[in-house]
Symmetry: C2
């Protein structure tokens, strides 16, 4: 590696596993802070801080399971799935990461990534070396609360995912998943009603803890009940209230919905 004093090469040095087609992209610490929800502007003094912007193609791995931790990442664009592969090859999807989400932080405690992150589409991420975290905190005292908020949000989201898998009925799981996705899209300023699923049915199924055929069946069931309009990966929520009511049912008693189904048939 050529060590010159130019800023461009500094950036390059902090972008691991950079492939040939990657080109240096314009970015700065301000971009990351704005992504994390900071309202104020960062002074120009910290523009030299080592912050890499990595670009990935669909199906590329941001990091592999078991790999040593070098960076934590913030999704700038695109979508990821977090997966853990069992010995027999079964892929467990633990969650999906969208714009603004934190990736790889669960690796800090043990020094290795317990899960892999795979891009579902072309994506860009900010990469922050863990060894630079202390320096960044010293340079920008306001960064620490932002990072804490981000980790807290991840923790809270993981809790919601658990509730998702805790539901017994498959339609309830799917309903909860769609509502969570809808809420996140709305938080990003996008439509809460019209969703485009970036992941395939198999990934959704793994995430919900059911077979992928069951996901299909649940989609058509929700569509039959008038909750949704489903066209492959395009989903439109037609009756948000009914969807919420479905998602809130816990043990048994989908009978109310069964009646509605009978009424429509």
């Amino acid at each position: 590696m050529y060590a010159t004093a130019s800023g461009s090469d500094l950036m390059r040095a902090f972008a691991p596993q950079r492939t040939a087609r990657d080109a240096p992209l314009p970015h700065s610490l301000s971009d990351l802070l704005r992504l994390l929800g900071a309202t104020w502007q960062v002074g120009a003094s910290s523009d030299g801080f080592p912050l890499a912007l990595r670009q990935l193609r669909a199906d590329a791995a941001l990091f592999h399971e078991g790999a040593g931790v070098e960076c934590i990442y913030f999704v700038q664009s695109g979508a990821f799935k977090r997966v853990r592969t069992a010995e027999d090859g079964y892929e467990q999807v633990l969650g999906f990461a969208l714009r603004g989400d934190l990736l790889g932080f669960d690796a800090i405690c043990l020094g290795r990534h317990p899960t892999a992150a795979i891009a579902l589409e072309d994506a860009r991420v900010f990469a922050l070396q863990v060894q630079d975290l202390a320096g960044l905190a010293a340079l920008l005292p306001a960064f620490e609360p932002l990072l804490q908020k981000a980790t807290s949000l991840e923790l809270q989201r993981q809790g919601e995912v658990l509730q998702l898998m805790a539901a017994v009925a498959a339609e309830v799981r799917l309903a909860r998943f769609l509502l969570q996705l809808s809420a996140r899209m709305q938080l990003m300023g996008q439509s809460a009603r019209r969703l485009y699923l970036r992941m395939c049915r198999r990934d959704i199924a793994s995430h919900l803890g059911v077979a992928h055929e069951t996901v299909s069946r649940s989609f058509t069931l929700l569509a039959d009940w008038g909750c949704l309009r489903v066209d492959n990966r395009e989903v439109e929520i037609l009756d948000m209230g009914l969807l919420r009511q479905l998602a809130s049912s816990t043990r048994g008693s989908l009978d109310l919905q069964a009646e509605r189904l009978a009424g429509h048939a």
Copy 2:
């Protein structure tokens, strides 16, 4: 409350919801840092830092679902369950917290506790006001990495819990749960083989996403296969290898175990 300038009263001031039977307990910042795994000693300069040690009886709530966040907590002794209650009264157990675990951090992002924490037995926790976090970071630069490690560990544990609920067969879920518990006990310097379950079957069932009767059946099944010896809440792991093998099976194919069962019968 009598307001004098003594140090004891300072402690009292930072212990919210203190009941009459609670007495001031000896504690210091050093105790917390040692609990978090710090190897170095803290200087006496920071002994005046506001750090409360709260004591709770069994079944008492450390914080309620939806309550505003004031503190984050580190479990000093005892055990907790983290629960979320649905509208129809169903209690979803998201996880259990033991000595050294962080509680309440998922509330920081939204300012409200998304889950409640209930003591499973008499317990003690260190309480750290969130508004004091920045001050503590300034006073002790080495604290920030410890907090990050703790949050990272929580995040990683939540991922493991997800894997737990992702398993299809009930016995597999129970096997994974017991292995996770065993690993945590060993990490705390206790026996990995002899476990005393601090939670009732219903809590375990909710945590695994099955009916509590199924938990009972799975316990007896694992015992019949020679994995465990179960006596109410006392569990002894007899065949760790077989238990691991069971826990690693994902989709279908418990047939191997079924053969073993037939062999024993």
